[in-house]
Amino acid sequence: MTAPADDAVCLDSMTEVTWTQLVSASGLPEAELRELVRYGALVPRDPDAPTWTFEARWLVVARTASRIRHDFELDPHGVSVVLSYVERIEQLQAELRALRARLG
C-alpha cells in the first residue's frame, strides 16, 4: 500500500499561524522577532490581542528576516530596513510579471 500524500499548505493570507509557530519557523530569538513587530516589519492580525496570530505569509517574511540577519550580520533594525526593500522588489516583480503577461 502506498503512503498517502501530505498536503502542502499555501503560506498566504488565507492561512493563520500562531506566534509560537512564527518564532519556531523563523529560527530567530523571540526578543528579536518582537523587535521586528515593533518596527512594523511583521504585522499581527490584531496587535492588541493578548496572543498574536499572523497571516501565514508573514512566516515567509520571518524566515527571510532570519536569513538576512544571519547572512548580512545585521541587527533587527537593519533587517527591517532590508525587508522593506525586499518587499518593494517583490511588488515590482509582480507588476512586471503582470505586464509581461498582458503584453506577451
Binding site: 502542502a8 499548505v9 547572512d71 503577461a101 498582458r102 506577451g104
Partner: protein, 317 residues
C-alpha cells in the same frame, strides 16, 4: 570528497586576518545575496560564499580547514588520518558527504553539547527544516498535483558523525499555486530527537512557462490572433483554455490590443477564481494573390478610414 578553496571563493589570501575575511564576505554578500541579487547563479554563488565564511570566520573551524591542506578546487581528497580524531570525533566515512557537511557536523556537534560523547542525550531536539525547489508544469499549477520528492538529507549517524540519507516525501500541491510561491509541508523536515518535533519542509515553487498561457496573479492571458476582416466584421473562435476549449464571440470592430474577458476561466484558489483574457493581435497576410490584392485595393479606394488622423493633424501644423 571534493576540495573547495574557501579562501579563493572569498578572494582572500590564506593568511588573511579575520577582519579581511569579514570585509570580503560582506562585499560579496551585497552582490550575490539571493533575496536582493539578480546576478546569474546568485543563489549557488551565495551558498558557496556562505559556506566559506561560516568556516573561516570561526577560528576553530578555520584551523580544522587549514589542517586539510591545500588542494586544487574540485580535486578528490581525504582528510589526513589524525584529522577525525582531532576535530571530528566519531566522524565515520567521508565518501558520501561533502566539505560543507563535514563542517556542519562539526558545528552541530558543538551545538549538541561538545565534541564526541559529551552531547546531552536526553534533551528534546527539534528536527531541521528542509527547503526544496519544486518545478511544476502550468497544468499541475492550474489543476493541483500529487508529486514525489526525493531529497538528500544530512542526519546524525549512530557513530556521532554525519551522513547523507535519501528523504522521500509524497505531497499534494494545491491548485492555483504561482511561480515563486513558498509552501509548507508540516512535519516533513528532519526528524526530531528525544521527543522533539519533526521539522517542516518548505517548497519553493517554480512554474514552468506554458507556450500559450501567461499568468498574472489569478488571471491568465492568452494571445488571440485575428485576421483584419475578422476584427472588422466580428467572428466566433474556438479558444483553448486550461479547463477546456470554449467558443468566444469576437465583436465587430475589435481593435488590436483589446482584451476579451472570459469570467471565471483563470486560476482557482481558496474560493477565488481569476479571469482569462484573450489579448487581440491583428495579423496580416504577407502573401496575397492577384484577386486578393485587387480586393484590398478596392477597399483602400472605397474606405475613408484614417487610422492616423491625429498624426496628420499634428503634421499639418
Amino acid at each position: 570528497m571534493k576540495y573547495k578553496d574557501y579562501y579563493a571563493i572569498l578572494g582572500v589570501k590564506r593568511d588573511a586576518t579575520a577582519d579581511e575575511i569579514k570585509t570580503a564576505y560582506r562585499r560579496l554578500a551585497r552582490k550575490y545575496h539571493p533575496d536582493v541579487s539578480k546576478e546569474t547563479n546568485a543563489e549557488e554563488k551565495f551558498k558557496e560564499m556562505g559556506e566559506a565564511y561560516e568556516t573561516l570566520k570561526d577560528p576553530e573551524k578555520r584551523a580544522a580547514y587549514d589542517q586539510l591542506g591545500s588542494h586544487a578546487p574540485g580535486q578528490d581528497f581525504r582528510p589526513p588520518p589524525d584529522w577525525g580524531r582531532e576535530f571530528a570525533q566519531g566522524q565515520g566515512g567521508f565518501d558520501d558527504i561533502d566539505l560543507s557537511d563535514l563542517f556542519a557536523g562539526l558545528a552541530g556537534r558543538h551545538a549538541r553539547g561538545g565534541t564526541g560523547g559529551g552531547r546531552r542525550a536526553d534533551r528534546p531536539l527539534a528536527g531541521s527544516d528542509y527547503e526544496a525547489v519544486v518545478r511544476v508544469s502550468f497544468d499541475q499549477a492550474f489543476h493541483g498535483a500529487e508529486i514525489d520528492l526525493e531529497l538528500s538529507a544530512l542526519e546524525w549517524a549512530p557513530d556521532g558523525g554525519m551522513r547523507r540519507v535519501p528523504h522521500r516525501v509524497k505531497t499534494r500541491i494545491p491548485k492555483g499555486v504561482t511561480d515563486g510561491e513558498k509552501l509548507r509541508v508540516p512535519g516533513k523536515g528532519g526528524k526530531g530527537a528525544n521527543g522533539g518535533p519533526d521539522g517542516d519542509l518548505y517548497l519553493d515553487i517554480q512554474v514552468e512557462a506554458h507556450p500559450l498561457y501567461r499568468v498574472a496573479g489569478l488571471d491568465i492571458h492568452v494571445d488571440l490572433p485575428l485576421a483584419p476582416w475578422e476584427a472588422v466584421l466580428g467572428t466566433s473562435v474556438n479558444l483553448p483554455t486550461p479547463a477546456g476549449a470554449v467558443s468566444l464571440k469576437v465583436p465587430a470592430g475589435t481593435r488590436a490590443g483589446a482584451q476579451l474577458r472570459l469570467t471565471g476561466r483563470g486560476m482557482a484558489r481558496g474560493g477565488s477564481t481569476g479571469n482569462l483574457f484573450a489579448n487581440v493581435r491583428i495579423e496580416v497576410p504577407t502573401v496575397v494573390d492577384d484577386r486578393q490584392r485587387a480586393l484590398f485595393e478596392q477597399l483602400a479606394k472605397t474606405s475613408n478610414f484614417n487610422p492616423r488622423a491625429q498624426l496628420d493633424q499634428e503634421a499639418a501644423r
